[in-house]
């Protein structure tokens, strides 16, 4: 079946601009995660959605970062007033309640000039 998809695959933006990154989880997966992979930093957790519960935003680095999940499926990660340190690969993952394994998308590579 179809895996997790993310768009765009690459995004180049200018400092100060807003960007939106999209994630389509695996159909039927109720849990959705965003991670950031920065050079030399490894992967860090950003935010987690589970069904209709309030999202766990504990990993968001600043209030410039926000995410929403519409209809329990597609999620959008928004970064406002981008900074150069926001340059990274943003990975989305989804998980079903029946198992603990997270399945990752290919990521969006963001470059802030």
């Amino acid at each position: 079946g179809a895996g997790v998809s993310q768009s765009p695959s690459n995004k180049v933006t200018e400092k100060g601009k807003d960007v939106e990154l999209r994630c389509d989880p695996i159909s039927g997966h109720t849990a959705l995660y965003w991670y950031r992979q920065s050079l030399g930093q490894g992967l860090e957790f950003l935010i987690y959605f589970q069904g209709n519960s309030a999202p766990d935003k504990s990993g968001l680095p600043s209030d410039r970062f926000s995410a929403e999940r519409t209809g329990g499926s597609v999620s959008t990660l928004t970064i406002q007033r981008t900074q150069q340190e926001d340059s990274a690969v943003y990975l989305c993952a989804s998980r079903s309640l029946a198992e603990e394994t997270q399945y990752f998308g290919p990521g969006t590579r963001l470059l802030v000039l």
Binding site: Q41, F45, E100, F104, G105, P106
Partner: protein
């Protein structure tokens, strides 16, 4: 707080040689443990996972890992490496009690280079 250490940033092995990638974790209870692989420009692919039971787990592509509670380790092994195994490998830990966010904590990764 939970943490994962992958002490080897970069490893080079010859094709056909055996491989062991080290992973040590810090966690208050028995965690869920994962190994993922990331090829250049790709997302993360799950190689194997440990939840409970037999401490030696088999994964895809001929990989295996052994959970050693006394050493807080979950090292990844492969008896004979193929050139296509060149990639970055990530060890991750997640909480084992249900009802939690199960957000993963990752190590910083080990980049594997395979020489012919």
């Amino acid at each position: 707080a939970q943490s994962v250490t992958q002490p080897d940033i970069h490893i080079t092995v010859s094709e056909g040689a055996s491989l062991e990638l080290r992973c040590n974790y810090s966690y208050g209870a028995t965690p869920y443990l994962f190994w993922y692989v990331q090829s250049p420009g790709q997302g993360l692919q799950l190689l194997l996972k440990y939840f409970s039971g037999d401490t030696l787990v088999q994964g895809i592509k001929g990989f295996e890992a052994e959970f050693k509670r006394s050493q807080s380790s979950f090292n990844l092994r492969k008896p004979s490496v193929h050139w296509s195994d060149a990639a970055e490998y990530f060890c991750a830990v997640g909480p084992s009690n249900t009802g939690t966010a199960s957000k993963l904590t990752f190590g910083t990764g080990t980049r594997l280079q395979v020489t012919l």
